[in-house]
Symmetry: C2
DNA sequence: AGTCACGATGCAACCAGTTGCAACAATGCG
DNA sequence: CGCATTGTTGCAACTGGTTGCATCGTGACT
């Protein structure tokens, strides 16, 4: 499922720069890759792509950059129900958070926006007096084409 | 937050045995620990407790038993927003699934049941024609005592 | 009780992600 | 423009979790 290209190219770079974050060759490469990604990427894929531009990049730098983006709320980290080992997937934060459904048979990932999801978050904020920073809802099961 | 002791002792053992799963010394020890746990445990804690009963148990056996329980839908695996590294926590499956909120400051974990959560799952099943096996909603943020 | 098939175990080696630390380089200032 | 500050990088070593494989032991059948 391709992600929509809602932001101008360079958005992550300029957003971070405007917050006083230093721009290095490595970061520029990594941010560009995440920005122009057409689907969910894992850390190893980002590393491989980044090394095509900057062969010296270390995987540690990938993880540190991803963690920087998480801290600034610019990407979301997904487990996708640990379908493939323990690795994580990353996507640019979209204006509306959505549910991720992973098919346990074919591995396809579907996204779903719902007013109930938004409502549930509001309810937690209000009834539990809990200030939400990140909310993640992930579902594992069987998609319509894989059901018996 | 203590978990309620809703099931008779030996429930996991007899449940699995009735499905034709072999019972070994190691499994009996691990299942007993999970059953009588008064809070969310991680794999390392389960290993340490199990080795008090059966000193020869290997961590691999812990992970394989946890994965067995997941496959049979008898426990839920939680990330708790990766608050502490990459480790996971485990809890017996309760009749009603609930949301887990983790405070990013004090680390406290709160559980919350909501009709909106149940409704959201129903909506996914119906509108996305997606048959749910596991649903996990985790929230990271700041609890009422930790908010500015 | 004795035998046997096959599932479960432990070990070693591996994958994903994190941390401590010394060397390095992006920015701000003169 | 050159320099100092301080954040960033790469390396090595580590933690948490998984996999392949030879050995072991459960539970079924006699």
């Amino acid at each position: 499922m391709p992600l929509p290209h809602t932001e101008a190219p360079g958005y992550l770079v300029s957003n971070l720069a405007s917050r006083g974050v230093r721009m290095t060759r490595q970061r520029r490469a990594i941010l560009g890759i995440i920005e122009t990604a057409s689907h969910h990427l894992d850390a190893a894929q980002i590393l491989r792509k980044a090394q095509k531009q900057e062969p010296e990049v270390d995987r540690v730098t990938i993880y540190r950059t991803l963690s920087l983006l998480k801290r600034h709320g610019l990407i979301d980290e997904l487990d996708l129900m640990h379908l493939q080992g323990e690795k994580h997937f990353y996507e640019r934060k979209t204006p509306r958070e959505h549910v991720h459904m992973t098919c346990l048979r074919c591995g396809r990932v579907t996204e779903f926006e719902s007013r109930l999801f938004d409502g549930l978050k509001k309810q937690v904020q209000k009834e539990c007096r809990f200030q939400i920073a990140v909310a993640r809802m992930e579902i594992g099961g069987y998609c319509s084409s894989c059901r018996a």
